[in-house]
């Protein structure tokens, strides 16, 4: 099933006002103007359910939790003094103010659902466009701080769980397929040959010369293709060595239920087995995707209500995962 491979979908639009510099240029007067303009709009009907958070008024842990949840970005966190976010916690949508661009509108959806995420982004974009003219060029499209976003300003991305495909000899072929479509596939967490958690991030690279619908369709089609390749490999393993797979899944569950110290790296390894086991019906764990965020450092510090690092963090992670795995 494709939703067992696609963990989540995200659409992001980069936008700037015509009369305000791109924030990173360091003009704080412009940064304040941008926040004021957005704050004045939040009382409108289009923004029902959204809360405006100024990052400088939040604790470091609270900001880091938002980042780990994907509601804000590390770039916004780095610009916290002048940055804000309009967040709809229930719908997992946010508008980031004064990050790399004046505004970054983003929506997250579970599973493969770029269309729904895009519709919410476009709805918010129309509400923002009523505030003031956007930086837009007839030829080049929406003007952004980075040329990587010029044009549509759209980044459509999927988070994929590829435990079989990622370790197979087909990744070179996958790389060629992805590049040929103007897309990018990379490890979602960290760098290196081994993707932590076997989680990959697929997104469009091209932003100019194609419509938003074409870009979303390209990412969706590639996501489906990669899902099908992953599922085929899973079926093959189930046929050839189901017992070994079940053993690996049960070992992972055993660690989650009994470990007293769990590093993030080890968590990723075990989590990947648990997710695969859930997808294949070897065990039942409906909240397995939520564990990804809950195991991150800031979430653990918030859970423990104190700053943790090193061994204390690993011990807290083990406690938390034991609690969540037993539910």
């Amino acid at each position: 099933m494709r939703h067992d491979v696609v963990i989540s979908s995200r659409v992001r639009l980069a936008r700037n006002f015509e009369d305000i510099s791109f924030h990173h240029s360091g003009m704080s007067a412009d940064a304040d103007a941008c926040i004021s303009r957005v704050a004045s709009a939040i009382r409108g009907k289009a923004w029902a359910g959204y809360q405006l958070q100024c990052l400088r008024d939040m604790s470091d842990t609270a900001c880091a939790v938002l980042c780990e949840d994907g509601l804000i970005t590390p770039e916004l966190l780095a610009a916290a003094d002048n940055a804000a976010a309009m967040i709809h916690y229930e719908d997992a949508c946010s508008v980031l103010v004064n990050g790399t661009d004046n505004l970054r509108i983003q929506a997250l959806r579970p599973g493969l659902n770029l269309h729904s995420a895009a519709q919410e982004c476009f709805r918010l974009e129309e509400a923002i466009a009523r505030l003031a003219p956007m930086a837009f060029d007839e030829k080049l499209g929406y003007l952004t701080a980075s040329l990587d976003d010029t044009g549509t300003g759209l980044r459509a991305s999927l988070l994929l769980h590829l435990p079989m495909l990622g370790k197979s000899d087909k990744m070179a072929e996958v790389g060629r397929l992805v590049s040929a479509q103007g897309l990018n596939l990379r490890c979602a967490f960290g760098e290196g040959a081994d993707a932590p958690g076997d989680v990959y991030h697929l997104s469009n690279l091209v932003t100019l010369g194609r419509t938003e619908e074409e870009l979303i369709a390209a990412v969706t089609a590639m996501g489906i293709q990669l899902s099908d390749m992953e599922c085929a490999l899973r079926d093959e393993v189930l046929r050839s060595d189901r017992a070994a797979l079940e053993n690996a899944v049960n070992l992972a569950m055993g660690v989650m239920l009994t470990a007293t110290s769990l590093s993030l790296q080890e968590f990723y390894q075990r989590w990947s087995k648990l997710r695969l086991g859930t997808a294949l019906g070897i065990l039942t764990m409906p909240g397995v995707d939520a564990l990804l965020a809950q195991a991150q450092p800031a979430h653990l510090c918030a859970y423990a209500e104190e700053e943790l690092d090193g061994k204390a963090l690993d011990a807290c992670r083990a406690d938390r995962m034991r609690e969540l795995a037993q539910r």
């Binding site: 700037n16 015509e18 305000i20 510099s21 791109f22 990173h24 240029s25 003009m27 790399t100 476009f122 974009e125 129309e126 466009a129 009523r130 003219p133 956007m134 930086a135 837009f136 060029d137 007839e138 030829k139 080049l140 499209g141 929406y142 003007l143 952004t144 701080a145 980075s146 040329l147 990587d148 010029t150 044009g151 549509t152 759209l154 103007g182 690279l205 091209v206 932003t207 100019l208 010369g209 194609r210 419509t211 938003e212």
Partner: protein, 181 residues
């Protein structure tokens, strides 16, 4: 011997060694001096000058800009011509090349050739085909309506229908005054 007579500046690149060379560079549109030690000169791939300032400056800009040195306009290496700077936000082309970000919408015009080259390389296209903001559509509609009025007025005048031409002229003036307001 009085040490002060032989005071040497500290290298501005490493901040540790004494500077062996002083070079002139363009930074944010202004000519300024930069003191460098031999090690940093070598690290920045700058040869001990055998020519004049031209050669050294070109090397320094190339070193700072990295691979994107080819984007620098000809003559910038001479150090005598300004590196392009955006008049609105004062971001220079070298700032953009170094940091990877533009400063404001006006930078797209200020660095037009370089921006279009990079966009074409990345996207294979320079024509936006996606969504447009509401105000852009409205502006296009107004332009089209204005052009139609002008064409109609000229046709009416050419056909000696001066009453119609005068009415259209008044409509055109009203649109122009509305735009200026």
């Amino acid at each position: 011997m009085d040490d002060k007579r032989f005071f040497r500046a500290t290298c501005q690149e490493c901040g540790v060694n004494e500077a062996d060379y002083t070079v002139s560079i363009m930074r944010e549109g202004k000519l300024c001096l930069c003191h460098l030690c031999s090690e940093c000169m070598e690290k920045l791939n700058i040869n001990v000058p055998t020519g004049g300032v031209t050669t050294l400056l070109g090397s320094l800009i190339a070193a700072i800009a990295g691979e994107a040195a080819s984007l620098m306009p000809r003559g910038a290496a001479a150090g005598l011509e300004k590196v392009p700077v955006c008049s609105r936000c004062e971001t220079s082309l070298s700032d953009f090349v170094r940091g990877g970000f533009l400063g404001c919408p006006a930078c797209y015009n200020a660095f037009h050739d370089h921006v279009e080259k990079l966009l074409l390389e990345r996207n294979g296209s320079l024509m936006h085909t996606g969504r447009r903001p509401c105000h852009a559509d409205e502006a296009r509609r107004r332009m089209a309506a204005y052009d139609e009025l002008v064409t109609s007025m000229e046709w009416a005048a050419a056909n000696e229908d001066y009453e119609t031409a005068a009415r259209l002229r008044d409509q055109i003036r009203a649109m122009e005054e509305g735009d200026q307001a």
